[in-house]
Each structure stands twice: as C-alpha cells, then as structure tokens.
C-alpha cells in the first residue's frame, strides 16, 4: 500500500474508447479543461499509458486515490520496478501497465463502487484520475473519460436492470487515462501488445466462467474484463468487423441450435424409439435387444417389400393380363363352387391361390404393357436380389456392430462411478419420464451388479468345469435324440404316405412329434443350463444356439416333406402336360368337327376348363404362406393365453386364492428372449425361402412384424415381469445377426437349387415353357443386349476365369483375416498399457504426500529472495515521479513500443499471473517463488518477474 502514489502513476496507462467521448464530454464538464481531446474523440484511444501522473488536477487525484491504493496493493511488483529508475519509463511501462490494468480490473471495480455512487453524476470524471501526465504530456490525459463514459453507459443500463454490481465497470474503465498522441503512433509493437492484452482478457473471461465464484464476484470480473476487451477491440481497429463477427457468432449459435434440434428430430423419427426405451427402462437391455432386432428386421423387410411389390406385383397388377383371361389366372371349374368359402380362402386356395400373391399367376409373356416391362426377367432378378440384398445388409450390420460394440459389457474403468454421477438426465421435467428414468437407472445398476458379481465369483473351478461338461453332454444327447426321433418319424411318414388306412395319430404323427419337441426341449435345456452357472448373457447365447440346433430339425423335416411333394408333382406334371395338350387338340378338333368349318378360327377354350398341371411352385408358395400365417396365429395366441390370461388370472384370482399367486407358483411370465428371437429368425428364414414362390409373402411378413411390434410391446409392459437377474445385452446384436446369417444361408440353398436345376411348370408362372428358370437371363442377353456382351458373358462364365477368381478371393479372405487378428492383438496390448498407466497414476497419487515433502524441503533450501525485494521499491517513489516528467513523450513512446513488443513476446501473460504468484501457492510458504526466476515459477512467470526486476538496476 505504501506505494499508492507510484502505482497510480503507472496505472494510468489504460486505454479508452473514443466513441462515446463526445457525448460524454457534455455531461462531464468539469474535465472539459483537460479535454483537448476533442481531436481524439473520434479516434480510439489505444494509447495506453504513456502518461504518468498528472498532479495538476486535484479532483482527479482525489478520486483516484482509493483505487490506486488498491491497485498499489496488488501490484507491488510494478511499483518495485519503478523504483529502479524511471529514466526509461517506456521500458517499464509495458509491464506496469499490464499489471495495472489487471489490477484495475479486479480491484478498481470494487474499490470504486463507493466512489461511483458519488461521482455518478459526473461519470466522466473518473477517467481523469488515472491520467497523470509526465511533464509535457499532461494535457492529454483527459481522454480517460471516454472510457468511463462507455463503461458507465453500460453500467447504467444494467443498473436499471437491477444489477447494481455493474457499477464496477465504470470504475475499471476509469482507471485508465490516456495520451492521445499515441494513437497516431500506434506501431506494430503496440498492436502486438494490445493483442496480447486482449488475449489475456479473453483468457480471464474464459476462466471466469469456470470459477466457482458467487455470482456477484463473477459479474464484477466479467464486466471489467469485457469492457477492456471492448475497448481494445476498438483500439485495434477490429471494431469495423464487429458486426460481421457478431453476426457470424450468432449464426454459429443458431447453427448449433439447429443441429441439436435436428438431432432431436431425427431421434423422434426413429420408429418406436420411445416404446423400446420404455421397455428397456423396465426390463433391461436384454429384452430391449429383442425389440431392436425386431425393428431392424422390420426395416429390412420393408426394403424387400419395396422391391417385390414395386418391381413385380404392382407391374403385374397394372399392366398384366387381368384375372380370368388365361387359364393360369382363372380358378378351375371344379373349384369354382367353393372358391369363395372362408375356410378355402384361409387355406390360401380358391381365389387366393390364383392371385398375384403366388408364382402361378404370372404370365410368361416376355414384356408386358406399354412400357415393355420384362416381367419374367424382373421376377427372377427380384428373387435373387432379395437374397443378395439380405446378405449384404446382414453382413454389413454385423461388421458395423463389431466395430461399435467392442464386445460385451465392460466399458471402462468407471462403470459404477459414471452410472452414479452421470446417469440422471437433468433435463427431465416430466414425472412419467422421471419414473422411467428411475426404473432404467435401477435396471442398469442391477445389470452392472450382475456383471460385477459374476466377476467376483470364484469357486471351485474344477467342479464348475465338470458341471459344464456334463451339461453339454446331456444337451448333446438330447439334441441327438430328438434329431434321431425326427429322422425316424419322417421316414415313417414316408411309409405312411403310401398307405390309406391311417389313424388320426399316424396321419399327424410328424406334426405332433415336432411340436412336442419344441415344447419340451427348450425348458429342458434351460434346466440343464442351470448346471453351468454362466453369466446370464452367455447363458442366453448357449440357449439360443441349442434351441437353434433343435429347430433346424424342424426345418429339415419341413423341407424334406416339401421336396417330396415337389418331386411327386413334377412326375405328375409330365403326364398332365400330355393330357393337357391332347385335350386342347381334342377341343379344337371337336370344334371344327362340330361346326364343320375348317376356316373359322375356333374361339379359345374357356380358361377355367383347361386341364392344367399341378404347378408345384404355387404349391410350395402356399405351403410357406400357410406356415407363416399359422406361425403368426400361434405366437399371438401364446402371448394372449400364456402371458395375458395368466397375468389376469394371477392378478385377480389372487384376492381369493389359498396361496399367493403372484409370488408363488404361476406368478407372472417373464419375457422369453431366446424363444422370441428364434421365432423371429426362423420366421425370416421362411420368408426368404417362400418369397420367390409367393411374392405376397413379403407383404404379409411386413404386416406381421408391424403388428407384433405393437402387440409385443404392449404385452411385455402389461403382463410380464422383469427377469430375476436383469442382465445387460451385449452392445452388438451380433449373435442374433449370426443366427440370422446362418438361416439366410440355409434358406438360400433350396431356393437356388430349385432355380438352377428344377424345370419350371409348363403352364404357370413367369418361366413356363422354359427348360430352366434362369434361361430368362440367357434370353435377355441374346435378344436385348448387343452381341459382344453375350460373348463377354460367356467368357466370364468360363471356368478358367472363375477358378482363379475364387482362389483370389480365398487369398484375400486369408489376408484380411490375419490382419484383423493382428489388430486385435495390438488392441489388447494397448488396453493393457492403459491399465498399467492408470495403476501407475494411482500409485503416484498415493505417494504424493511424500514427494510433496521432498519438494518442500527443496524449496526451503533455495535462497529466499522474496524477502529482499520489498525494500527497494519505496525509495524509488520519488525518482519515479520525477523521472516521468522528464520523459519526452514522443521519444519514449517509440522506444517503449519496441521494448514492449519484445516484452510481449517474452511473457505472454504477466498480468494474470503476477498476482497468482504472490498468493501463497500450493508450493507452500517456504518456497515462495516470488522473485526468484529460478525454481518455482514456470517459464512464463519467471520471465515476467525477471523483467519486472530488470528496471531497478537502471
């Protein structure tokens, strides 16, 4: 504090903006005298502090004192330097000013609160206080006011807004007094310095927001810093661009907001996201994973549906021959009587069978309609494209999931801590949402707890291994048993097929056995799996795999029966084909004979009377459609009875029952993840296989998935209870996807086989009359494409080309595989390293105390220079003031500028750091780094200080 005077003189140097000065001047008349500034009014006063104290104006000084005092306190350092020698004020000025500026900002504001009140009337005044001019320069100081005025204006507005704190602003600005001359001489060095200071301010502003201060304090600082920045912006001439910048910033903000809104919108557009989240919050991610899978499936089927209907069904409906025009599009006369019966329609016979839904309805005309749409070609392409697209999508999704997932569960070091501290969403303002959030947080905790318990479990590993082995043996046995049973039953049914004297059981033996197996085995597997005691997530995978194997038996029998049927139909067809042709000929013969008129062309035979083949493709299609529909019925009924009825009974009979139904035996159902997932997967297999023979099947499936989404969501929320051990699903649904891929491959085989080898029916479907279905492609190549393309294709089909291609692919696979393995290894390595680094850090922190002690001792041993410096400054007071007057402004300005520039480069931020050093840092009392450039302070600080000290010697 002693130094007030000196300090004040230094402080001077804080700039001001000229803009407002004019208007203010009027208000602040007292200063008018000093105001030569008129000239400068327009210019921005960047001239910071050249002017030392001007003692001329008493009033100013008075006002200044308070602030100065404070400032002085803050800046002992600058003061000290001063002491050194004022001859070269310019040299010192830069640092001082900086410090002074900082100090002003901080202290000035508060200090002056009181002052301001008084001086409010004349706002301009404060500016003056700062300005003390060295001998010659005295006149100039008045500029200071402008700054004030600005500050005040702002301050006032705010005041009106009920912020009193703002007042400080004024004060901050006041402290500055300016010399105008500098404006003109604004050199690069000054610019740099200004930039630097602005930079500092910015830093301050940025950090202010991070300071856990009370609002009052924060506002004060913020205001001051902002003001400073404002002014300098002007001083630097960047003000011109201001509007543009403001506009840009505003647009950035708007853009960010827009992006966020858009993100929200996109989330809102994800179908069923809310439903699934709701399920997830109550039942855990494992159940939700089923619904996500279902949604994905729906999306994929929608695309398939688009292809099939867009390229096959719709063109046929719009441009193809209408119903009843040709035999294949007409119900045979024998069936017409019952063709509209409900039971017949439900079996997809009658009108259903002869509709666009099935293969047989399509004509083999090469092109249809005005557009010359090549329907047969399109039909084949869509059939193959369905598989192609599905394969692509499944594999791509798997790859993407693998990318994202990283795997099961562990997401790093802070699972629980993160869950605990960051899981609540502070934006929730709706009680229902809040309830969901509570549920989901609880669920997620439970999931993690299960994981954790699993990790902590350590028991007899040998026993565990033995049990797991045993369980696998048991399950393999039962799988083998059921496999044999199926094989046996299928064989028997083939025998039965040739006999007529069958009992009801013998007729339905296959179905009965199959459904019995499906009913008994899954629970059996689950029971056996108890032995293994896996984590539920892994157990689910095993369970899925086992049931999948069981269901494959189902698929096998079904396909077996189907191929049997197809073969008989094919044989049958041969004879009918002849009969049909013969009948046709006979018809014409009869016609001519009866009419005795060979010339006239006979009218075509009534389409319904034509004898036709069995059309095995349609039969297969009907088979698949029936299966799908019955599957839908069964699964919906199961939910209705098994879950809903059970829940209702348990809920309401509980009031009048002899034991607790809810807690005891029937209880509520749990959601059967494995069953549902497999149901979905196998259903999709049916669709893939059937879609070629029944284009309508895809549409049915889309409806089914859509309805089951809503239905199952409702059922789960209404009738099920969460699993006992809620577990977290692996992030990627890749296991489901893997099953799907397997099924896709399995269903691909029979379809491709039929397309490539079986002859299509002679009288129905788009390929009738051709020896093989894919002949359509050959035909197109020959007829529609230029000849050279045909030769090209024949070359491409050459084994000599294909075999090397296959080899190449195998090599590529091998290469990629080994590369991915290598990556995996390095991944593991990195993970290990991270873990190690973390442990190390932990250790280090644990040891901080001891190391700290060592550091302290070290610091104690350093020469304590902080004691020395305080002395010198005082004496300098006098000299300083004297010195200032002697300075020549212009000259010094030039010098100062250069020096300052250097300084600026050297110490980017002395202002802010200065005070920090002084405060007893964490380093402790002994090491007081204060003056010493050596030990404590970082380079920046050290230099700042070093520079500070520099002057005194002079």
């Amino acid at each position: 504090m002693p130094r007030k005077r000196d300090v004040s003189s230094d402080d001077v140097g804080i700039e001001i903006d000229g803009d407002l000065s004019d208007s203010d001047d009027g208000a602040t008349q007292r200063r008018t005298n000093r105001r030569q500034a008129a000239g400068r009014g327009g210019a921005r006063a960047r001239g910071r502090g050249k002017k030392p104290a001007s003692e001329d104006e008493d009033e100013d000084d008075e006002e200044d004192e308070a602030p100065r005092g404070r400032r002085g306190a803050n800046k002992k350092k600058p003061a000290k330097k001063r002491g050194g020698g004022d001859d070269d004020d310019s040299e010192d000025e830069a640092p001082k000013r900086k410090r002074g500026g900082a100090a002003n900002k901080k202290k000035g504001g508060k200090a002056q609160d009181s002052d301001d009140e008084d001086s409010d009337a004349g706002k301009g005044k404060k500016g003056k206080k700062g300005g003390k001019k060295g001998g010659k320069d005295e006149e100039e100081d008045s500029k200071g006011k402008k700054g004030d005025s600005k500050g005040k204006d702002k301050g006032k507005d705010k005041d009106n807004d009920k912020k009193k704190k703002k007042k400080k602003d004024d004060s901050s600005s006041d402290s500055n007094s300016n010399s105008d001359e500098e404006e003109e001489s604004m050199s690069e060095g000054e610019m740099a310095r200004l930039m630097e200071e602005v930079e500092e301010k910015k830093k301050l502003i940025a950090t202010i927001r991070n300071k856990p201060w009370r609002m009052k304090r924060r506002l004060t600082h913020l205001k001051e810093a902002q003001q400073f920045v404002d002014k300098f912006e002007g001083a630097l001439g960047k003000g011109k661009g201001r509007k543009w910048y403001a506009y840009k910033v505003m647009m950035t903000k708007k853009w960010i907001k827009f992006q966020r809104d858009f993100e929200n919108f996109r989330t809102a557009c994800i179908p069923w996201e809310r439903k699934i989240k709701e399920v997830e919050s109550h039942f855990g991610s494992s159940v939700a994973s089923y619904f996500i899978f279902l949604r994905w499936m729906y999306g994929m089927n929608l695309v398939l549906f688009g292809f099939t209907f867009g390229l096959v069904v719709i063109p046929e409906v719009l441009m193809g021959l209408p119903y009843g025009s040709i035999p294949r599009k007409t119900v045979p006369r024998a069936e017409q009587a019952t063709a509209q019966d409900y039971s017949v329609l439900m079996d997809f016979n009658g009108y259903c069978k002869y509709s666009v839904l099935f293969y047989g309805f399509y004509n083999n005309q090469r092109t249809i309609g005005l557009l010359k749409f090549r329907l047969p070609l399109s039909y084949l392409m869509v059939g193959i494209g369905t598989f192609g697209y599905s394969l692509m999508v499944v594999i791509r999704t798997m790859a993407k999931n693998a990318d994202v997932g990283g795997g099961d569960g562990d997401e790093g070091e802070f699972t629980f801590a993160w869950k605990m501290f960051t899981s609540w969403d502070y934006l929730i303002g709706n009680s229902e949402t809040a309830d969901n959030k509570y549920a989901s947080i609880t669920t997620s905790f439970k999931e993690s707890i299960v994981d954790e318990q699993e990790n902590q479990k350590d028991e007899n590993i040998h026993l565990r291994r033995f049990l797991r082995l045993l369980a696998n043996v048991l399950i393999t046995c039962s799988l083998g048993g059921s496999g044999y049973l199926i094989y046996f039953v299928v064989k028997r049914s083939q025998e039965f097929a040739s006999r007529d004297d069958l009992s009801w059981y013998e007729k339905n033996e296959l179905e009965i056995i199959m459904s019995l197996l499906g009913l008994v085995c899954p629970p059996l597997f689950e029971t056996i799996a108890e032995l293994e005691d896996y984590h539920p997530r892994i157990a689910l995978k095993w369970q899925l795999g086992r049931i999948f194997a069981l269901f494959l038996g189902n698929l096998y029998t079904f396909l077996f029966a189907l191929f049997d049927e197809v073969n008989t139909k094919l044989e049958e067809e041969e004879s009918i084909k002849n009969a049909s042709i013969w009948a046709m000929k006979e018809y014409y013969a009869n016609y001519t004979r009866l009419l005795n008129d060979t010339e006239s062309t006979p009218p075509p035979m009534d389409p319904s009377d034509v004898i036709r083949g069995p059309c095995w493709e349609t039969a297969v299609g009907v088979e698949f459609v029936k299966l799908t529909v019955s599957d839908i019925q069964v699964s919906y009924l199961t939910i209705l009875i098994g879950d809903f009825a059970r829940a209702v009974i348990v809920r309401f009979l509980n009031y009048c029952w002899c034991w607790d139904l809810e807690a005891g035996f029937p209880s509520y159902g749990e959601f059967d993840i494995s069953g549902n997932v497999l149901g979905l997967v196998f259903n999709q297999g049916m669709i893939w296989m059937g879609a070629f023979y029944a284009p309508g099947l895809v549409g049915i499936n889309v409806l089914r998935l859509l309805s089951s989404m809503y239905y199952q969501c409702w059922a789960v929320m209404a009738t099920n209870v969460p699993h006992e051990r809620v577990f977290k699903a692996s992030k990627s649904n890749n296991f489901y996807m893997g099953l799907l891929l397997l099924i896709l491959f399995l269903s691909l085989l029979p379809v491709v086989y039929t397309i490539m080898t079986l002859p299509p029916s002679f009288d129905c479907g788009p390929f009738s009359g051709k020896p093989k279905m894919f002949d359509v492609i050959m035909e197109t190549i020959e007829l529609d494409l230029p000849a050279f393309l045909g030769t090209l294709f024949s070359y491409a089909a050459n084994p000599g080309l294909i075999i090397p291609a296959v080899l190449l692919m195998v090599l590529a696979i091998y290469y990629l595989n080994s590369v991915s393995e290598a990556y995996q290894n390095s991944n593991m390595e990195l993970k290990k390293k991270m873990q190690m680094a973390r442990d190390e850090e932990k250790n280090r922190r644990n040891n901080t105390d001891s190391t700290n002690q060592v550091m302290k001792d070290l610091e104690d041993l350093l020469p304590n220079r902080s004691l020395a410096p305080p002395a010198p400054p005082e004496p300098e007071k006098g000299p300083e003031q004297e010195a200032k007057p002697t300075k020549m402004k212009p000259g010094s300005a030039g010098k100062g500028v250069n020096l300052q520039k250097d300084v600026a480069l050297a110490s980017p931020n002395p202002n802010v750091r200065g005070p920090v050093n002084r405060a007893p840092g964490p380093r402790g009392p002994g090491g007081m780094p204060g003056p010493g450039p050596g030990p404590g302070p970082g380079p920046g600080r050290g230099r700042g200080r070093g520079r500070g000290r520099g002057p005194p010697p002079r």
């Binding site: 705010k158 005041d159 009106n160 807004d161 009920k162 912020k163 009193k164 602005v198 930079e199 301010k201 910015k202 940025a206 927001r209 991070n210 300071k211 856990p212 009370r214 609002m215 924060r218 913020l222 902002q226 920045v229 404002d230 912006e233 960047k238 661009g241 201001r242 910048y245 403001a246 910033v249 790093g412 070091e413 802070f414 699972t415 629980f416 801590a417 993160w418 605990m420 501290f421 960051t422 899981s423 609540w424 502070y426 929730i428 303002g429 009680s431 509570y438 947080i441 609880t442 905790f445 439970k446 993690s448 707890i449 954790e452 318990q453 850090e841 932990k842 922190r845 644990n846 901080t848």
Partner: protein, 174 residues
C-alpha cells in the same frame, strides 16, 4: 485470431443479460409477494428452498434439494436472486464442463465436507434408484464406485478424483 473469441464473449454477455431479465421474471413469479419487481435498489430478499424446488425444472430431479442448497450461501437452500441466477447459469448448457463438475461435486457432497464419502454415495444412489436396491447391492455399488475413482487411496473421493472421473464420462455434458 483473438477476434472471434472476444466477440463471442460479448455475445455471451448479452445473452447473459437477457437471461437475467427472464430469470428475474421467473424469480418474481415464485413469490410475487416477496420479490419486488424493481431491483435497482438491490433489495435483500431470499426465497426459501421449498418454493424453488417446485420449479418445473427441478421438480422431478432427485437431487433438487441438494442443488438448491449448494447454491445458497447459507447452505439452507435460501436463494437470493444472485444465487438464483448463479444456479441457472451453472445448470445452463452454456456452462463449461469444469464448472459443472465443481457444482456437481458440491451437489453430491451431502454432508458438505468437501469429500464424497460412502454415505454421500449411498444417499446419491438411493435417490437415483428410489431405494429399489437392496442394502447389499448399495454397498457393493458404492464400494465399487469408490474403488474405481479413488486415486489417492483415502477411501473417499476428493474433488480431484471426482473431476478426473467425471470429465471422462461420455454422458457428462454431451
């Protein structure tokens, strides 16, 4: 280069002031009889916790009482307008992570000892889950959480621990 940032600050400040006005409206609404419309004279009035936690922004928050308490100077949840503004500025999305971390720490520090100890965690957890977890589970979770985040081995979380942990959280201030 400094330019953008400086102006940005301006902008923020402006937003700040606008928000103050709105906020004052909100503040006034909470207790029209207590809060004067005219704040130029800086009246000294405080709103009790009970009024503030009923704001829709806080109503559903399990930590609402703690939030308000940690922003009040007296620790009892009485907020002056300044503190009220403070609270909203910290809770706003413009607030930087570091600041949020500091206040989050304060909020979770139920017994105001500048450490998150086990009791704090238990309270936090019970509020988060509406006490749906069994005591053993709570115990396990708290134990694990401390184990994970405690770097200096004192069995409670200091702010350094907390900050280190929370600034890496993917969910924290997305």
């Amino acid at each position: 280069m400094g330019n953008k940032q400086t102006i940005f600050t301006d902008e923020q400040l402006d937003a700040y002031q606008v928000r103050h006005l709105q906020l004052h409206g909100r503040y006034h609404e909470l207790a029209p009889h207590l809060v004067p419309m005219d704040y130029t004279k800086d009246p000294d009035c405080k709103l009790p916790l009970a009024l503030i936690v009923n704001m829709p922004e806080l109503k559903e928050n399990p930590f609402r009482n703690r939030i308000v308490e940690s922003f009040s100077e007296d620790g009892m949840g009485n907020l002056s307008f300044n503190e009220f503004v403070d609270m909203f500025s910290v809770l706003s999305e413009m607030a930087p992570r570091e600041l949020k971390a500091i206040y989050a720490f304060k909020i979770y520090d139920f017994n105001v000892d500048n450490y998150l100890c086990k009791e704090d965690l238990e309270k936090t957890l019970n509020k988060l889950t509406k006490e749906e977890l069994t005591p053993e589970e709570v115990e396990l979770v708290c134990q694990k959480a401390i184990e994970e985040a405690d770097l200096d081995g004192d069995n409670k979380l200091s702010f350094a621990d907390f900050e280190n942990m929370i600034t890496r959280a993917p969910d924290f201030l997305r």
